[in-house]
Amino acid sequence: MSCWQTIQDYGLRSIGIGERLLPKTDFTLCQQFTLIGSGMIWNIYFGALALFVGFFIASAVALGKNAGPAWIRKPCEWFIFVFRGSPLFIQFFFAYFIFLKVKQLGFMPWLTSAQAGALVVLILNTAAYSGEIFYGALRSVPRGDVEAADAYGLAGWSRFRRILWPTMLRLGWPAYTNEAIFLFHATTLVFFSAFPTLGQRGDSLYYASYFADKTFNPFIPYPILAGYFILLTLVIVGLFGLINMRLNRHLPQERRVRLRFRPNLLR
C-alpha cells in the first residue's frame, strides 16, 4: 500500500472519516506519521477553541480580580487560585465526575464526552492562567496612560476598550504566548487520563501510544509526536509574534517589547 493511499485512508481517521480499522500488523513509518498527525486535529481543536473562549473569560477575570468590591474580587481570586494551584490531571478527574452527576440529573448529557467536557475544563484552566497574566499586566499599566485617558475625557467602557485593554494585552503578551504553548501541550492529557475515547477516535498521544503498544518500540511514535508538537509550537510562536508586532506597532522601534527576551514569560 502506497503512502498516499495510507494518507487517504487514515488522514482523517481521528474524526471518524476513512478506514474504520486501525492498522494491525506490518506498521510502516507512513502509517505512524499519518495517524499521529490525524490525531493532532483534536489537539489543535482543543487548544485553539480553549484559547479563543478562554481569552475573553480571562479578560473578565483579570478585571474582576482588579475590581474594588469584594463580592466580585473574591470569586475571581478563588477561581484563579483553584485552577492554577492544582494539576490538570486532577481537574479532569473531578470535572468528569461532576459532569456525570449533572448528566444523571438529566442536564447536558453531552458534557461527558471528551470533545465537550474536556474542552470546558481546558477553557476554565487557561482562563485562570491567562487571567492571572492579564491581571499582572493590568497592574503594571503605566499611570501616565490612565491620566492621559482622563485628560481626554475618556471614562468607563471606552477608557477600558481604548486604553487599558490594549496596554494590558501588550504588556501581558509574551507571557500569554507561553501560556498558549503550554495549553496545546496540555491537550495531550485529555484522553490520557479521565475522558473516554469513543470508537478509537483519539488525539495524537492516543495514536502514538497505540503504536508504542503494538510495536513495543516507544522510540519511533513518541519522537514523531514530539516532532509534530515542535512544529505546532513554532507556528504558535509565529502567529503570536505577528499579533505582538501589531500590538506594539505605535511604539518606536527600539522600545518594542521583543517577544523572546522577556524575563517573566512563564505561567
Partner: protein, 294 residues
C-alpha cells in the same frame, strides 16, 4: 498497626478507619509524599543548573555552542512533557548502560542490540543485577530526577536567558569601563543582578514543576497519584481485609487539598523572596522600597 486491627470486620467506624488508614499500603502512600517532596527538592537546583548552563551556552559568542544552547531550549520546550517522559527514561537508561559497557567491557564481542533486545555485559548493568531492590529504586528515582531536570532545565534556561538580557546594558558597560574582563563582568555584575528579573519566571516554573509530579508514575516512581488511584479503586473482600467501593473521589480530594496547600505556601514564599531580592535593585520594586525607607 494497632492491636485491635486483627479482625477489621468487627470494628466500629472510627477504629475501622484508624486501622484502614494505617495499613502497609497507606504507609506506602505517606512515604510517597516524601518521595515527591524529595524529588522536588533535588530537581529544582538540578534544573537550575541545566538552565544556567543552557542559558550561558545560548549567550555564547562561539556559534556552535550558542546553537546547541538554543536548540536545547527550543526543542525541549516544544515537546509536551508527557510525550517526553514516555520514552526518555528508557533511552537515558540505555545510554548510561551503553557508555558503561564501552568502558568496562571493551572485549565484548556480542552485539548490544540483538533483535529487540538491548544487552550489555553484566558489569555494565545499571544497577548491577545483584544489587538489592532499594538500589534499583534509588536508581529509578535518580533517572526521574534527571529527566525532570532536563525538561525543566530548558524552561529555566529560557527564563534565565531572558533575565540576562534584562539586566541593563549600562551595568555591563560600566563594568567593562572599570577594566573587568568579559568573564568577570558576567560573574560579578550580570549574574548577581539577573535573579531579580528571573524570579517571577522561576516562581512560575516551580509551580509548574509541582503540578507535573502526577506524571511521575510514567517514570516508574510510585508517587502519590499512583497510590491514590490504587487505593481508591474498588476493593473486594477476597483480596483485602478492608473492602470498599469506588473511593477514588475521596483520595483525589485529598490530593487536591495537598496540591492547593503546597502551591499556596510556595506563592507566599516566592512573594517574600521577591521583596527580599528587589532590595537595592534598579527596578520599580527596588525604587518603591527605597521610597518607603527614605
Amino acid at each position: 498497626m494497632f492491636e485491635f486491627c486483627a479482625d477489621p470486620e468487627t470494628l466500629d467506624t472510627f477504629r475501622w478507619f484508624a486501622c484502614y488508614l494505617t495499613t502497609g499500603k497507606h504507609i506506602g502512600m505517606y512515604w510517597s509524599v516524601l518521595t515527591v517532596l524529595a524529588l522536588l527538592a533535588i530537581t529544582a537546583p538540578a534544573a537550575l543548573f541545566f538552565g544556567f548552563a543552557g542559558a550561558s551556552a545560548a549567550r555564547s559568542h562561539v556559534s556552535p555552542v550558542s546553537w546547541l544552547g538554543k536548540a536545547y531550549i527550543a526543542v525541549v520546550r516544544g515537546v509536551p512533557d508527557i510525550a517526553f517522559f514516555l520514552f526518555f527514561v528508557i533511552a537515558l537508561d540505555q545510554m548510561f548502560e551503553y557508555l558503561r559497557h564501552k568502558v568496562k567491557c571493551p572485549d565484548w564481542t556480542e552485539p548490544i542490540r540483538q533483535g529487540n533486545d538491548f544487552i550489555v555485559c553484566d558489569a555494565a548493568k545499571l544497577p548491577l543485577g545483584s544489587s538489592p531492590q532499594w538500589v534499583h529504586e534509588t536508581y529509578g528515582f535518580f533517572l526521574a530526577v534527571l529527566t525532570f531536570a532536563i525538561v525543566f532545565g530548558a524552561f529555566t534556561a529560557n527564563v534565565l536567558f531572558g533575565a540576562m538580557r534584562a539586566v541593563p546594558r549600562a551595568q555591563i558597560e560600566t563594568a567593562e569601563a572599570y577594566g573587568m574582563s568579559r568573564r568577570q563582568a558576567f560573574w560579578r555584575v550580570l549574574v548577581p543582578q539577573m535573579w531579580v528579573y528571573a524570579l517571577p519566571g522561576l516562581g512560575n516554573l516551580w509551580m509548574i514543576l509541582i503540578k507535573a509530579t502526577p506524571l511521575l508514575f510514567l517514570l516508574g516512581v510510585e508517587d502519590i497519584v499512583y497510590w491514590a488511584k490504587d487505593l481508591g479503586e474498588t476493593k473486594h473482600a477476597r483480596f483485602t481485609d478492608y473492602p470498599h467501593g469506588d473511593w477514588r473521589i475521596w483520595y483525589f480530594l485529598a490530593l487536591l487539598v495537598f496540591y492547593l496547600t503546597f502551591t499556596w505556601i510556595s506563592e507566599k514564599v516566592i512573594n517574600r523572596l521577591t521583596k527580599r531580592l528587589s532590595h537595592g535593585q534598579a527596578t520599580l520594586g527596588g525604587d518603591a522600597q527605597r521610597k518607603v525607607t527614605a
